[in-house]
Structures are given as C-alpha cells and as structure tokens.
C-alpha cells in the first residue's frame, strides 16, 4: 500500500505504460512541468522532450497532430488541460479522429487518448467548469470514459493507452490532489464495466465522475432511513454497462441518474432513456443534474450547480413515493 495523490497515481500509471510501449508519448501545454494537476509529474525527467512534448497554445493542432502521429503508428496521449479547451479542437476530434478508421475503410486507426480533466471546481466560473460528456457519446467512433476515483482512473488509463480505439478520457479534476491508499500494482479495467459501490434492492442510483462521492454519501443517508441503494458507478460512458444497470433496475424498479453538468441532453438522458426502453416493470425514473445555467462565479450561486447528497436524497425520496 502506498499513499498517493490521484495525480501521482495517474503519472505512475502512464509512466508504467510508457516503459512498456515506446510508441506512447504525450503532447500538450506545460506537460513538461508535470501538467496543471501534476498528473504528468516526473514523466519529462524520465522520458525526455521527444516523448513529453510541450506545445504552443493551439488545441486544434494538439488534437490534429495527435491524429497524424497515430496514423503513422505512434500512440499519442493528447492533453487538453480542461474540458472547456477541447472546444477549439472539436473539429479535429469529431470530424477527423472519430471517423478516419471508418471512412478510410479500416486503413488507419486513430489510437489516441484524449485526456480531459472536467467538471465543477470551486470558483472556476462559466468557461472553466464544463461537463460535455454526452457530446462524445453522440459521436460514433469514440470510446468515452469518466472515472470517479484514482483506482478507476488508473485502470481505465491503462486500457485507454492500450486501446486501438480513440478514447476521450474525462478525469475528475477536483480530485487530483486527494490521496488514496493504492495497492502496489493496479490492473487495467476494461471499458464498459461498471462498479457497484453500494448494494441495495430499493433503488438504483447510476452515477459517474465527480458526482459519485455525493451519491455515495446519499446512499449512506438513505440506508439510515432503511432504503437500500444499489449505487452503480458507470466509469465508462460508451460503451456503458447496460447489463449491470438493467439487472439492478429490474430488481429495484426505480432509477435515479445522478450527474454533474446540465441535465438537458446530458449523458444521464441516455441512461434514463435506455432504461425506460428496456427495463421490465420500471416504476419510476428521475435525474439529478446541474440546472441548465452557465456556471456562475460567486460561491453562493455556484452552489446551484454542485451535486450534493441533500439534492440526491430529496430526489430519491420523491422517487420512492411513486
């Protein structure tokens, strides 16, 4: 067991993989200094300037150059700093990376990992707080993951850098400094496999990314009220663990989806819709999400966007009455 920050876990995992496979390299702004969340700490020292490449502020080209480098056989890890800065690079990600394999009839692969720290973070306001997962679930060709904690992040990062598919890798940016006790070794976690956080038969809560800790606290509070919650941390958004979610909902008959970011056409809508289509005997479904407002700056207003145990418990109580 080692006590590490999530940033350190991320850096060590990538270092492991880079030792294993010389084709893996990193490009992004300020990565040689370790990245703004220290998630690349030490990599420059170990792998040097050819494999840990500081770039100009040019997200379109960071993304597009990653693609070009993949097409000749390297495996780039493309650092985007935060989700909001992916936007100047959406063209390269969606029009090119997601489609090259398909539109060229399988001649090339865009084996890239696009790393995207995302989510709410105190005081970050409208342009540094966004959650845009659902956009990429809507894009054929992309794997989308959004782990909530260090162990899952590490395991999925292994899978991502080993994957031949392009992976949009959302990271819970507010958790990078949190420490965890890590085993000496941590394995890859396959895409599409959820993690059951708490067991229970009265209610299924599906959550992911930065909303999970609040959901876990809420599950505990509900347990105290005698309500058994099966909390599922999805971890992967596409593919997502349909089997686990359906099995749970078919048992509990009630689904609460809990996510950060605007609920309207957020990824939670896809879960709720798919469950409504496929579950048997579903009694009630509901979503807890941020309201559809830009994220405001003042802490008193920003509170409207954060997902709290209180909001989840309130929604669960309503759901249980239906």
């Amino acid at each position: 067991m080692n006590t590490l920050t999530m940033g350190e876990v991320a850096a060590r995992t990538l270092a492991d993989e880079m030792r294993r496979d010389e084709r893996i390299w990193v490009l992004g702004e300020d990565v040689q200094l370790g990245g703004i969340f220290a998630q690349y700490k030490g990599l420059f020292q170990e792998f040097g300037p050819k494999r840990v490449v500081n770039t100009p502020i040019a997200e379109s080209t960071i993304m597009g150059a990653g693609l070009g480098a993949a097409l000749v056989g390297t495996r780039p890890v493309i650092e985007m700093r935060i989700a909001d800065f992916v936007m100047p690079a959406i063209d390269e990600l969606v029009n090119q990376i997601a489609k090259v394999r398909y539109m060229f009839g399988g001649q090339g692969r865009a084996s890239v990992v696009v790393r995207v720290p995302h989510g709410l973070h105190p005081g970050s306001a409208a342009q540094h707080s966004q959650v845009i997962e659902s956009w990429f679930v809507n894009v054929p060709g992309l794997v989308v993951v959004a782990p909530s904690n260090a162990l899952d992040l590490a395991g999925l990062l292994r899978s991502a850098v080993r994957s031949d598919d392009p992976v949009v890798f959302f990271e819970p940016k507010s958790f990078f400094k949190q420490t965890v006790d890590m085993p000496d070794d941590w394995p890859a976690i396959p895409f599409g496999l959820a993690r059951s956080v708490t067991e229970g038969d009265d209610l299924t809560i599906v959550s992911w990314a930065q909303a999970v800790p609040a959901a876990e606290t809420a599950a505990g509070l509900l347990r105290q009220q005698g309500v058994g919650v099966n909390l599922i941390d999805l971890r992967s958004l596409w593919p997502w663990d349909e089997a686990a979610v359906l099995a749970s909902v078919n048992r509990t008959k009630r689904l609460l989806v809990v996510q950060e970011g605007p609920g309207a056409s957020g990824f939670g809508a896809e879960i709720a819709a798919a469950v409504a289509e496929m579950a048997i005997g579903l009694k009630a479904v509901s979503r807890v999400a941020s309201p559809r407002i830009p994220v405001p700056f003042a802490p008193e207003l920003e509170a409207a966007c954060f997902i709290t145990p209180g909001k989840i418990v309130a929604a669960a109580e309503q759901l249980l009455q239906r």
């Binding site: 702004e29 300020d30 200094l33 500081n54 770039t55 100009p56 502020i57 040019a58 997200e59 379109s60 909001d84 800065f85 100047p88 105190p122 005081g123 970050s124 306001a125 409208a126 342009q127 540094h128 605007p262 609920g263 309207a264 979503r287 807890v288 999400a289 941020s290 309201p291 559809r292 407002i293 830009p294 405001p296 700056f297 003042a298 802490p299 008193e300 207003l301 920003e302 509170a303 409207a304 966007c305 909001k311």
Partner: protein
C-alpha cells in the same frame, strides 16, 4: 482635456499605480482565501493598457484576456465594481457571476475579460464590423498575449480585419510567458509583428514598459484607423512580474531575467519620466499613495458587500427557456 504634459502623464502614472496595487491586493486576498477562483495578475504590464486606453474615447471598445483587470481599469471601469466582482459580490460589475476571468464593463466599452486564450480576437473584429454598420467611427482595441499568436484566431482575425479594413488596434502584450512556458520555445519565426504584416496589418514594436511610447504609438495609429486606414498592430514587449496565477511561484523564470525586468518596471520608468517633466518626488509619492488608498477603500467595501441572492443564478440565462425543466433536476 488634460492640462499639461506633466498632468497628463501624472494621470497615467496614477492609473498604472491603481492597477499595480489592485493586482497585488487581489493576489494577497486570493492567497488569504478571501477571493475565490484564480487571479491572473498583470503586475509589470500596466503601461500597455494604460497607454493604449489613454487615447481611446469612451465609446471605443476593448476586448481583453484572462489577465484583464488592468484592461478594464484602464478603460475606466469602476474600481469598486471590479473589486466587488472579484469578491463575488452582488455589487460586482457582473453581479458576481463572472469573477476575475470575466470582468466586464460595457458602460465604458470594456467588452469583457475572457477565459479562452485569443478568445477576444474574433469578438474585436466583429465589434469593429458592427460599429461600421451602425455608422459609428468608434474603434476597437484588442488586447492579447504572446501565447495567443500561436492560436488560429490570431491569423483569422487579423486577415479579417485587413480585408474589411476594420478599425482594430491589435495589441500584443508580450510578457514573455505563455502560462508556465517561455514563449520563445513555442513561437517560431520573427515574431508577432511579422505575422501581422503577413496578414496585411501594419504596425510597430514599442517598449511595453514605457507608457509614453505606447501612448504616442497608439495615438498615431488610432488617428489613422479612425481616418479609415484599417487595422494596426502594436507589439509591446514587457515582462510578467508574478506567476501565471496567484499561486504560481514562477520558479521557471531565470532570476537574472526577473531582476532585469524589475529595473524596467513601468512604474519606475514612468516615475523617471515624470521627474524629467518637472514633477517632484513628493508629488509622485502622493499620487501613488492616493492610488493605494483608492484600492484599499474599494477592498474594504467589497469585503463587507453582500453576495448575490441565490435566485440570481437563474437570471440572464435565456428569455426562451424551460425554467421548470431546467431547474427541476438541479433544484
């Protein structure tokens, strides 16, 4: 408007000092946990916005960057309103909804700081185009950093301004760094001005620490622009005195460079200039002290100002909306 060259530059000096004290105050307040979010201090770069904005009319517009306090204050934004905004108060310029990275004061033509590097460039050219359509002879000054010259909007915006002959003064505030990276490692070729000229925007390089030089160049260029000559480019070489954000110790800066830059502190340069214009040390000290007092007063007031009411979070989103649905999930 201004009585003499001495008075004129004393006023510019005062504005620079206000910005310096504002920045230092806010960095300290942020470190003390009073101000949420991030603070990008423009300490060391005050001559640029103050010099440029000193030749602008109130109805001229500016666009800004993530490091935008100085731009706003130089354009005439209310000092207390800006401080209150950084504190996230209802009295803030944006009602506490923007914070440091989104300070704006449309009433004085300050169209907003911007959390996206180079984000102000297309806005500036569009503003100039819109003003032209409305028959106004107002001009637009567009501030951006040396890091922004490597982003696509730089090329697109300069080309745009040139083909439509728009009155945009592009001001490259070259403080030597792009976040934690020395810009020389990420910028190829002869630099921002050559790029501008290659896009059909003429300009010049000035000492970014000399408010008088900046003012003189901007004055000439704005006159040309207002006469219909099209866009102009001003490359201001300066140095960032502090870290990229308040908590950045900026250890990646060579100490010798920092020391050299401190000797060229725009406030020192300005002081020398004022002395040469006949102002006395005491007069300058009193200007400085007055500026400091103004900032302290603004801070004192902002500290105890009220936060915005919770309902404000749901205001100014969009007129055509689904408030029930949009709030249901998060309320």
């Amino acid at each position: 408007m201004m009585a003499s060259r001495g008075d004129e530059f004393a006023e510019l000096h005062r504005r620079m000092r206000v910005i310096r004290v504002f920045e230092d105050t806010c960095v300290a307040a942020h470190k003390a946990g009073e101000i949420p979010g991030y603070i990008h201090s423009s300490a060391g770069q005050e001559a640029v916005p103050v010099g440029v904005c000193s030749v602008l009319r109130r109805d001229d517009r500016i666009t800004s960057t993530h490091r935008g306090h100085g731009h706003g204050l130089a354009k005439g934004a209310d000092l207390y309103g800006m401080m209150a905004e950084l504190y996230g108060r209802a009295d803030g310029l944006c009602g506490g909804k923007g914070g440091s990275m989104h300070v704006a004061d449309f009433s004085v033509g300050m169209l907003g700081a911007n959390g996206i590097v180079a984000g102000g460039i297309p806005i500036a050219v569009g503003a100039a185009q819109g003003l032209g359509l409305l028959g106004s002879d107002a001009v637009v000054a567009c501030f951006f950093g040396d890091g922004a010259v490597n982003r696509g909007p730089f090329l697109e915006g300069l080309n745009w301004a040139a083909i439509y002959r728009l009155p945009v003064l592009f001001v490259c505030e070259d403080n030597t760094f792009s976040a934690f990276t020395h810009s020389s490692t990420t910028t190829a070729g002869p630099g921002p001005l050559a790029r501008a000229e290659a896009c059909g925007v003429p300009g010049e390089r000035v000492d970014g620490n000399d408010v008088a030089a900046i003012r003189a160049a901007a004055e000439r260029m704005v006159a040309e622009m207002r006469a219909g000559a099209g866009p102009r480019f001003l490359w201001c070489k300066t140095y960032r005195f502090s870290g990229h954000v308040s908590i950045d110790p900026a250890l990646y800066r060579p100490q010798a460079d920092v020391d050299a830059a401190m000797l060229r502190d725009p406030l020192l340069v300005s002081r020398q200039h004022l002395l040469s214009l006949g102002l006395g040390e005491a007069a300058i000290d009193s200007i400085d002290a007055q500026a400091t007092r103004a900032v302290v007063m603004a801070q004192t007031r902002a500290r105890s100002a009220a936060p915005p009411p919770f309902e404000a979070a749901f205001r100014d989103v969009q007129d055509a909306d689904m408030p029930f649905l949009s709030q249901r999930m998060g309320a």
